[in-house]
Amino acid sequence: MRGVKILERALAALPIMLGVCIVVFLFMRLLPGDPVDIMLGEASNVTQEEIDALRSQFNLDDPLHVQLASYLMRVLKGDLGYSISRSSNVGKLLLEALPATVELALAAILIALAVAVPLGIITAVKHKSLIDRSSMACSFLGISMPAFWLGIVLILIFSVHLKWLPTSGRATYGLVPSHVTGFYVLDSILTGNLPALKDSLRHLVLPSIALGAAPAAVITRIIRSSMLETLRKDYVTYARAKGVAEWAVIIKHAFRNALIPAVTVTGLEIGGLLGGNMVVETIFGWPGMGRLVVDGIFSRDYSLVQGAVMVYGLTFVTVNLIADILYTWLNPKLVVGEKV
């Protein structure tokens, strides 16, 4: 029963992906100028014939619907096209960049959850206390601070002034772990390369804080408000009346139920991280998908941007699917319905 539902949801992702594909394709064409303009923008000694020849080489002179149809056909065959600006296969570029992006996103989520879960619980339990009020003020700050600003401030403080952490990149030259999965932290653990592990962690700290701050703030608020609600429920009083210790009442009874709404929001926040990572990756020179997209947009590299956005779309859909599965798992009412 559950398997069927999951399959249903997964299949529903297909039209969404098609929509994403078409919308990005059209939006990229709405931007003024095309790749050829950008490539030849600086050069003055190019003739119109040469420009036209280049256009037709990349099939840019076909009508829009023909371009779209041929693009979709190629995507269906698993070919994401050729990146003009990087002179490489888009699929290959994305595969190379994906581990960097995922590593950063996971670190950001981990930081966000590590802050949000305990803080959300404590602020709800100590409702209206000093810690509650100050945490809420901080979380307000966290939501309001744009990632690009926070990133720059973090670099200024911790890299420039204190010189504790590196300003950019994933690893110091020469300390890149040998390739196993593409995740530097994981790779350096797998290969037992301690200096590389330390180095990649040091590189990860600032960007993941910059990326995780806003979701941390949002998730703290969600957990707090849903904890405030569950703490008032009869079953929490009842758990106390059974003689259950207070910490167990809070975790097993209140938090377990507060998780249900929190999971959905966390899923959406993780999706939102994808948008944030374009900014953060650009600031920290992180060689991930976000930077690929930004560079791709500036050089009107249609295939690259389209391919990257499709991966974003797929990730977003998958994360929300996982959140939905978790949701049904946490909320037995959605799965088992029969009455005695």
Binding site: A241, K242, G243, V244, P332, V336, K339, V340
Partner: protein
């Protein structure tokens, strides 16, 4: 019903509960004395907001914020409840005293299976929680196919079944006292009778004392040995069920009985006039005075304690005045 023993299981003296709200203190319980003996069933009746539930929650030290016990003493089986904290309090809750709540649908945790919720109660009190123990408990409260029910989530059970599960959990640690806070209010009438039967059977078989909070006088009359009528945070009349309901002395008790609908045609209901006393105000004298038909100027003086009326205790200045014994009217009500 089991004959009550002599040993006191619950002794509440001068209990005062105050909710410190933003709009000033609300004195929900204003000096309650209540004693419950082994094997006794005591009914606590009164309108909503008269302090019945606050009194019960005080015994478990479960008053919700911003409520607090400001005066008085509570002893359960010889233990001073107000001096307890931490482990002692946990041992009391669910151990010596168990509580059955009003609405089983919202009281059982929706995210945990029945078996897990039962197990938890046993485990926190260091009792064995094997499957057979759980099955026996469910059998005792009359749940069909208990093996299956252990794996169910609360929403898969009907309200009556959920309440049985709750009673099974309360029984699990063999408490000396069960506090039942309107245990049948959320259930329909046929189920109500079954649940009350079950509680009565537990009282008879195990000798467990029960305090039943209800606003249903019919339920109280069938179920309790003794009854205490509360109004505005005070007990206004207390005695054996038979005496109090067939020959009520306090005007409020009589008013309550007058509010019970009757089957006989053409007998109008006689509601108590006025509004329930506002507990955020200080009441000089009798709290029921503004609504009382029999009030005299003396009612404005505060009565320090209930007056001994021979077969019961009453908090009324006019107790003993001849025209008071209007027995016939009360007997008409069919409550005897």
């Amino acid at each position: 019903m089991a004959a009550p023993g002599d040993k006191e299981v619950l002794s509440i003296k001068g209990l005062q509960v105050c909710y410190r709200t933003d709009r000033g203190p609300v004195r929900a319980v204003r000096g309650v004395d209540l004693s419950v003996r082994e094997g006794e069933i005591v009914g606590l009746v009164g309108e909503s907001g008269c302090g019945k539930s606050a009194t019960l929650l005080s015994v478990m030290r479960l008053l919700p914020f911003p409520g607090e016990i400001v005066a008085g003493s509570i002893e359960v089986d010889g233990t001073d409840v107000l001096a307890l904290n931490g482990k002692g309090l946990q041992a009391l809750r669910g151990g010596t005293v168990a509580m059955v709540f009003q609405d089983p649908m919202s009281t059982l945790n929706p995210a945990h299976q029945i078996g897990a919720q039962m197990k938890e109660a046993l485990r926190v009190h260091g009792l064995p929680s094997t499957r057979s123990v759980l099955v026996d408990l469910l059998k005792e409260v009359g749940i069909p196919s208990p093996e299956t029910v252990l794996g169910y989530y609360p929403h898969q059970l009907s309200g009556g079944m959920q309440q049985r599960v709750m009673i099974a959990i309360s029984l699990s640690c063999r408490p000396k006292l069960i506090l039942a806070d309107e245990p049948t209010t959320a259930l329909d009438v046929t189920i109500e009778a079954q649940i009350l039967d079950l509680l009565r059977q537990i009282n008879r078989d195990r000798g467990t004392a029960i305090v039943l909070v209800t606003h249903n006088l019919a339920v109280a009359s069938q179920f309790c040995h003794r009854i205490a009528v509360m109004y505005a945070g005070q007990i206004v009349e207390e005695g054996s069920v038979k005496d109090v309901l067939s020959r009520p002395l306090h005007p409020y008790t009589r008013g309550l009985i007058g509010c019970i609908p009757r089957f006989r045609k053409g007998v109008p209901l006689t509601p108590i006039r006025g509004q329930v006393a506002d507990l955020s105000e200080n009441h000089e004298g009798c709290a029921f005075y503004p609504r009382c038909d029999k009030a005299v100027p003396g009612c404005l003086e505060t009565l320090e304690s209930l007056l001994d009326a021979g077969d019961r205790m009453v908090r009324c200045h006019r107790y003993g005045v001849p025209e008071y014994g209007d027995v016939a009217a009360a007997q008409d009500s069919g409550c005897s």
